[in-house]
């Protein structure tokens, strides 16, 4: 799997992402500056977390219009894989690659803590090394992670099986208390209709080594590496 991480000004999780990808693939991913315009020979494009352009106007609003974005749209249109984590998820929604939007957390507080995610479907290239319904721990660090979409869009996402991950209790129950940012229907991550684009609010890349306090996030990267091995 050849992976590339797009670096926008204000991004700060690109090196964490690189560590997770290198652990899974054995190769260092390419770092692509957002002013580049070409993506060639890349299987997976990752939009990492951080605060692109200082979160000015709306989180991800400027990054969604970066020079690299037409190449990412083209990559997705060709069926290429795209992973957006945290600010990357916000950028994907601002760019129209995923539906909905990430609003200010319902409690207004920046949330920096672990949460638990439930794998809603394991038959994807991203979640293949998890089990259906498996619960895993993931750190989150965001002020705007409150997933919002119209009822019609939410129903379509659910109907088409495009909800990838939900905030749950450690035992897998969907509760309001587990849904700290107030996301609609506890949604933490969604897929594009072809299941090749994933937006996810928490950070699996920050739990991929025992030194980080756990390896709960590692199956996501191992699964991708296995699915995209070529």
């Amino acid at each position: 799997m050849k992976a590339a991480i797009v670096v926008f000004p204000g991004i700060n999780r690109e090196r964490d992402m690189a560590i997770a990808l290198e652990l899974a693939t054995g190769h260092r991913p390419r770092m692509i500056w957002h002013k580049e315009t070409v993506l060639e020979g890349i299987d997976l494009v990752v939009l990492p977390g951080g605060f692109s352009s200082g979160d000015y106007l709306r989180c991800g609003a400027m990054a969604a219009h970066s020079p690299i974005m037409p190449a990412i749209h083209e990559h997705a249109r060709r069926g290429g894989h795209v992973l957006g984590v945290c600010n990357g998820f916000q950028i994907l929604t601002e760019a129209g690659l995923l539906p909905g939007a990430l609003l200010r957390n319902a409690g207004l507080r920046f949330l920096s803590m672990d949460c638990h995610l439930r794998v809603e479907r394991a038959d994807t290239d991203f979640a293949g090394h998890y089990q259906n319904g498996q619960v895993f721990r993931a750190p989150m660090a965001h002020g705007d992670g409150n997933y919002f979409a119209s009822a019609e869009t939410l129903n379509r996402l659910e109907g088409e099986g495009l909800v990838g991950f939900r905030y749950v209790t450690p035992t897998g129950a969907i509760t309001d208390a587990a849904n700290r940012n107030g996301s609609q229907r506890n949604i933490a991550g969604i897929y594009s209709p072809n299941l090749r684009v994933l937006g996810l609010m928490p950070h699996p890349e920050d739990l991929v080594d025992p030194l980080m306090g756990g390896t709960d996030g590692k199956p996501l990267f191992d699964g991708l590496a296995a699915a995209l091995a070529a």
Binding site: L57, R58, A61, H65, T93, E94, P99, G100, A101, L103, R104, N105, A106, G107, L108, N146, F148, A149, S150, G182
Partner: protein, 79 residues
């Protein structure tokens, strides 16, 4: 010309800032305050001299960047 673009969250979209401000107003003793909504005001200095062309231009900016139409609506005033 100057255009003022006002961006507001759409009806039905949770506005936690508005709720917090409404709560604080109540704490300060202001009564009779119903729903509070918070938005953004963006002022644009435009080279355009024709008001209609300026409005059209500001509306294009509103829908392509200044507002996210999934969650926000906006209006343009030429001043």
């Amino acid at each position: 010309m100057k255009a003022v673009v006002t961006v507001m969250l759409k009806e039905g979209v949770l506005d936690p800032q508005g709720k917090a401000i409404g709560h604080a107003l109540g704490v300060l003793g202001f009564t009779g305050v119903g729903e509070v909504r918070v938005g953004k005001r963006i002022e644009l200095d435009l080279a355009e001299n024709d008001p209609e062309a300026a409005r059209k231009s500001a509306e294009d900016m509103g829908s392509s960047l200044l507002a996210n139409l999934v969650i926000e609506s906006f209006k343009v005033e030429i001043v």
